[in-house]
Amino acid sequence: MGGTSTRALAIATQKLNLWYGTFQALFDIDLNIGQGIITSMIGPSGCGKSTFLRSVNRINERLGYVRITGSVDVMGEDIYQQGVELVQVRKQVGMVFQRPNPLPISIRDNVLFSHRLHTSDKCSKARLDEIVEDALQQVLLWDVVKDKLQHKATSLSLEQQQKLCIARLLPVKPAVLLMDEPCSALDPKGTEAVEELIWELRGKYSILIVTHNMAQARRASDECVFMLMGKVIEHTDTGDMFVTPRNQETADYIEGRYG
């Protein structure tokens, strides 16, 4: 179940188990996510997709009752090992949510927010301008917002907000981008635009994207992971999965026989 490639790995988990209190949400997850490609993750509601994502940037730990066994390597380093600095993990692993959640500050400050968190020395204004432009260029938002960088981020359309939420991760040069149903709050046009953007980022970042939209998974990912009830059932090239699923459960889900 190691995927199809022999390429370097962005995320590699071994025997990852996770409990919320006494409820086990993840079972022995062994998953290898390749670098520089887009991997989509599908599966019925409640199967643990978000939980998996949240254990890759260790945000789950904020809930006092979460217990984890096994290991998660990001870019070859075990992030659950002693001496790992959480702030560095979160810098390397950016997260995009279902509902765009730009901060209630200006567009410019949103883009610079994580940069400011992670750099101690003062940058010149010119340097900051450059960072803002570069990040917004990468998410195809620069031309739209370049004249209103001081406007509130919340005044943008949902699609633009979601792009901004991706943009604000980029200045600190993350290795991995996790996206939890990034398009499900958007209309079809917005979905298309954000999908296009994600495809645009392919190669520069390793992207793991959760989606309920089969068409999206099929269109916009290299590899696909199917999860069911806390377990990984199948992980193959997206093309193969949708044409010749190896597993009956996968086939059933893809054909819409699960919720």
Binding site: R90, F97, R99, N101, P104, I105, S114
Partner: protein, 289 residues
């Protein structure tokens, strides 16, 4: 097809009756406020003058002004604020942003709510025992304002915590996921957005404090002091106690004086209230989401 049925007409009559009933009761509520204010202005208005506000009382308080009491109330309020606001805000931030959700936190929250319900005379006795006697501050501005501070702390905490909680959780998530520490999140996102509510809460607390009599009665307020306080260890006059004194304790008091004192006290509270509302509107205009 579209003409009214008898049921429609009955519903209409009920609607009108209910509207008038509710409106009438609201009107009755406003009445006392209007009466109190007009009596105060009518009877107390003529006494108010520059002299009344800014000179000391003379002739056994039947003449002269109320400056020591006015100043005393302002001083008490300011000192109480200085003591309660930092502690209240710190506690609220801890409870809202740091405290784990366990039984201890719930007990603390419950204690704070109950503290807000403790009668002010009980706070007065506590202040007497703790600040006047135990800490040996004597009856003084310090002891009185600390008593006021303790009394108003729960309100400050609750108001602050509520405004912190009203900042959407998604902002915290966003910050944490970018690697912000709790404090960075609070400092850069939560506090700037909660400041409106916090300020309003604090100013409302001030209003409450200005009118209180019981907590300062045993701890620092004086019946009559011809001299202005020199330090926080001196006693002071206060408007609320002064009102009581001129209304009931002094023979041959000109009729207008108690009304004048009451008017000044109410005006102080109203001014602070309007300030807080103005501030809230100004800040809400700049609200960021």
């Amino acid at each position: 097809m579209f003409s009214a049925t008898s049921l429609n007409r009955k519903n209409d009559r009920n609607e009108t009756a209910v509207r008038w009933l509710l409106g009438g009761m609201t009107g009755l509520l406003v009445l006392p406020v209007v009466v109190i204010l007009s009596v105060l202005v009518y009877k107390g208005g003529p006494v108010i003058s520059f002299e009344f506000l800014f000179t000391t009382p003379t002739k056994g308080m039947t003449a002269g002004g109320i400056f020591p009491a006015l100043l005393g109330t302002v001083l008490l309020v300011i000192c109480a604020l200085l003591a309660s606001v930092p502690f209240g805000i710190a506690a609220a931030i801890y409870l809202s942003e740091y405290a784990p959700d366990n039984w201890l936190t719930r007990v603390i929250n419950l204690a704070i709510i109950n503290l807000a319900g403790v009668p002010s005379i009980v706070h007065a006795l506590f202040g007497l025992g703790a600040f006047v006697v135990f800490f040996r501050f004597g009856t003084s501005i310090l002891a009185a304002s600390l008593t006021l501070a303790i009394m108003t702390l729960p309100v400050v905490i609750v108001a602050t915590r509520e405004s912190l909680q009203s900042v959407p959780h998604a902002f915290r998530e966003a910050c944490w996921n970018m690697g912000a520490t709790r404090w960075q999140t609070i400092r850069r996102i939560i506090l700037p957005n909660a400041v409106t509510g916090i300020l309003t809460g604090v100013i409302l607390e001030v209003c409450r404090t200005a009118g209180e009599t019981a907590p300062i009665l045993f701890t620092g307020a004086a019946f009559f002091l011809p001299l202005l306080p020199q330090s926080v260890f001196d006693q002071t006059m206060a408007l609320s106690l002064h009102l009581f004194v001129v209304s009931t304790q002094v023979p041959n008091m000109p009729e207008g004086v108690p009304y004048g004192v009451a008017l000044v006290l109410i005006a102080m509270v109203l001014i602070m209230n309007s300030l807080s509302i103005a501030l809230r509107m100004y800040l809400r205009g700049r609200k960021k989401w």
